[in-house]
């Protein structure tokens, strides 16, 4: 990978930023951090096709932080919006009505609630049709915009505004990465804003490929995960160091892990910094639940061979 990239070192990352400031996102928003970095690599010839979620409030009449275009669709159908835009641009190019220089990268911008749930049928349909687009999911592990209710991306035992009991959310986070791989995507990658070099390389690579490409970014969310905004970076780094958020990519029929944490930090260090897991430590430490979470992470990495 490092041979055909312009990002060899952190110094190679874009030093001017495309996304305007002054958005209404919360302080310390990990989703916005990832979106901003991704936009820097993609450049302004981009149209974001947005699904309902926190990022919908990036473009509030009459302002937008984007240099390129924007189309808000609905919670369930952003990939179909991307289909319409892509197809129309292709038709206009085929007929010579627009130049290649007027074409754009079509990018869906969606939260996890839509990506893992309501939008999944539209997403799968777009992959089935081999749609040439990038799908960017910022995963804050809940329906953030409506107050962090449980979504299909919520991790086991997390407290959400609809899972407030002592056990938190009883279900398990869905493996969206594998769903995309199985569905026939051309490229799938996980990223996080606290690993900007890995992120930039993956976006660079995705932008050069064709077909359905997904970037799945863990999005530490101080508001939904209940921690101080200043801890966002630390929590993001711990998500990777503990092995909770594996950095990986799928291309050419193969899944590659880009960063195998050599010695994984215990998962509790990630969990105990977030209010949404506080009930696993107070009033009594729930050792069994914590051990279950740790062993699930261990099993994952055992299978990877690390």
């Amino acid at each position: 990978m490092s041979n055909d990239t312009r990002f060899h070192d952190i110094k190679d990352l874009p030093s001017t930023h495309l996304l305007g400031s002054g958005t209404p996102m919360c302080a310390g928003c990990g989703g916005l951090q990832a979106v901003s970095q991704i936009y820097d690599v993609l450049g302004p010839n981009t149209i974001f096709v947005n699904a309902a979620g926190c990022m919908t409030l990036l473009s509030v009449y009459p302002f937008t932080p984007f240099r390129g275009s924007w189309l808000y669709t609905s919670m369930g159908s952003a990939p179909a919006g991307a289909q319409g835009v892509r197809d129309a641009l292709d038709i206009l190019r085929d007929r010579g009505k627009i130049e290649a220089s007027e074409d754009m990268q079509v990018v869906v911008l969606t939260g996890d609630g839509s990506a893992y749930g309501m939008g999944l049928s539209a997403t799968s349909g777009a992959i089935d049709r081999g749609l040439d687009f990038i799908y960017l999911c910022y995963d804050n592990e809940g329906y953030g915009n409506t107050g962090q209710q449980t979504s299909a991306a919520t991790p086991h035992a997390a407290r959400t505004s609809t899972s407030t009991g002592a056990a938190g959310y009883p279900g398990f986070k869905k493996d969206l990465f594998s769903i995309w791989v199985a569905n026939g995507a051309s490229y799938v990658a996980t990223v996080i804003g606290t690993e900007p070099l890995d992120l930039a390389r993956k976006i660079e690579k995705a932008a050069k490929l064709d077909g359905p490409r997904m970037i799945l970014s863990l999005a530490p969310c101080p508001t939904g995960w209940d921690y101080d905004p200043k801890d966002s970076a630390e929590i993001g780094r711990l998500a990777v160091k503990t092995g909770v958020w594996p950095l990986k990519e799928f291309a050419d029929g193969e899944v590659t892990h880009n960063k195998k944490p050599r010695k994984r930090v215990p998962v509790v260090e990630y969990l105990e910094r977030q209010g949404r897991f506080a009930h696993l430590f107070e009033p009594e430490r729930q050792d069994r639940v914590l051990a279950d979470i740790q062993s699930k992470v261990d099993r994952y990495w055992d299978a990877v061979g690390s």
Partner: protein, 417 residues
């Protein structure tokens, strides 16, 4: 020009073809499917230079349709019934995007109970979406209305999506002789799509469908859509004059039949109006001064035309092929709103609901409607809304009820009357 015997569905497909639609997002549903199959067949055999894409739902279909229209291509799509409802969130959305596409709806009743047959509850559910609506009564009208719809939708004074409605089965699968105009003639009526400022291009950024904070800007955008929809009334008048000049067929916002000297007037939309027309002829033969008004344009609502056509009439019988449970017929309600307080408004507006789920409205029923309405006019008392049902049908229902009650061990005394 060629004249062919084709179905209403084929007429809709011809409309899209002659309009040179660039893009057709599709999803199958009875009784609409023949439209997209016809178009797909033409495209696959090089007879129509368009792109069709099969979506995984009507919700996605409508999203793709709006997004493509907002990117600057001419878009056609078609649906029916449950499909229209499945797309409902996006009907409102793409109307707000001011995406000037044309959607053909082949009317079919809504579940539950599930049915394949026709009534107007589906299209009525979309009446507040911001889509403009044209309603057809013949296969020729379906083709012509599709062309007219593009002209109105794309007019810079309007820029709203438009729906063309035809009745499932009664029109969709009925063959009628249809004049299919030449492409060059159509070109002179409907030039190539000029997306104007509504289009996405690199280097010319646009933000569409952004959020608003507060009721002020929200109301501003909604009012704009409403004013544009209202403006479509004048645009419609111009466009149909142009259509008549080129093709010789006239499509006023409302069609009137034997109305001038009528005392009692039937008012209804869609293909069943041809049955009402036949009933008018029979009643006239029997000496009854009865007429018919059929709105073609339902959004924008042709209130002024209706007030003019109905002024001085003794009574109007509104026949709704839709039912708003707990309220009644939608056309009746809207007509009452349009007429109330106007000069010469008919004193009696009688409401009849029928023709649901493919049920016929027979000549005998039209005669009964005329009789009830005339009596109401004589007595000056508006009758209770009527749900049309024939004695034989009621007997059939009673029989089924009897069986059901027997199986539940009930006695005849507990039958619902």
């Amino acid at each position: 020009m060629s004249r062919r015997l084709i179905t209403g569905n084929a007429a809709a497909a011809w409309g899209a073809r002659l309009a040179r639609a660039d893009y057709i997002p599709a999803f199958p549903i009875t009784p609409q499917t023949e439209i997209i199959e016809t178009l797909g067949n033409w495209i696959d055999h090089g007879e129509m230079p368009a792109r069709m894409v099969m979506l995984e739902s009507e919700h996605s279909m409508m999203t793709a349709a709006g997004a493509a229209a907002a990117t600057g291509v001419r878009v056609f799509s078609a649906t029916s019934s449950q499909g229209l409802l499945h797309a409902m969130e996006m009907l409102y959305a793409v109307a707000g995007w001011r995406a000037p596409l044309v959607l053909v709806n082949v009317s079919r009743g809504l579940a539950s109970p599930i049915t394949l047959e026709s009534d107007h509850n589906d299209v009525m559910a979309a009446r507040d979406s911001g889509f403009l609506q044209l309603h057809c009564a013949s296969c020729q009208e379906v083709l012509d209305a599709t062309l007219i719809a593009y002209r109105i939708a794309e007019d810079p004074r309007v820029r709203l999506p438009m729906m063309v409605n035809l009745d499932g089965f009664y029109l969709s699968f009925t063959r009628e002789p249809v004049s299919i105009p030449e492409l060059d003639e159509v070109r002179s009526f409907l030039p190539d799509f000029d997306p104007g400022s509504i289009r996405f291009r690199a280097g010319r950024p646009i933000s569409q469908a952004v959020a608003v904070l507060g009721g002020g800007p929200y109301s501003y955008f909604r009012y704009e859509s409403h004013l544009a929809a209202n403006a479509a009334a004048d645009v419609h008048r111009e466009v149909v004059m142009d259509f008549e000049r080129i093709f010789g067929r006239r499509y006023d916002a409302i069609e009137t039949y034997q109305c001038e000297d009528a005392e009692i007037v039937f008012l209804m939309i869609g293909s069943f109006s041809t049955k009402a027309r036949a009933a008018v002829d029979a009643l006239r033969d029997a000496g009854e001064p009865v007429g018919l008004v059929r709105p073609r344009l339902l959004r924008p609502y042709p209130a002024e035309d209706l007030r003019r056509a109905l002024a001085g009439k003794r009574a109007v019988a509104v026949i709704d092929q839709n039912l708003s449970p707990g309220h009644g017929g939608t056309l009746h309600c809207e007509l009452a709103a349009a007429l109330y307080g106007s000069d010469g408004a008919p004193p009696v507006l009688a409401s009849f609901v029928g023709g649901l789920g493919g049920r016929d409205i027979t000549a005998a029923e039209f005669f009964e409607i005329a009789k009830v309405t005339k009596k109401a006019a004589d007595e000056g008392v508006t009758p209770e809304p009527r749900l049309l049902f024939q004695e034989s049908e009621l007997r059939e229902v009673r029989k089924l009820q009897a069986i059901a009650h027997h199986e539940r061990g009930l006695t005849g005394a507990e039958h619902v009357e």
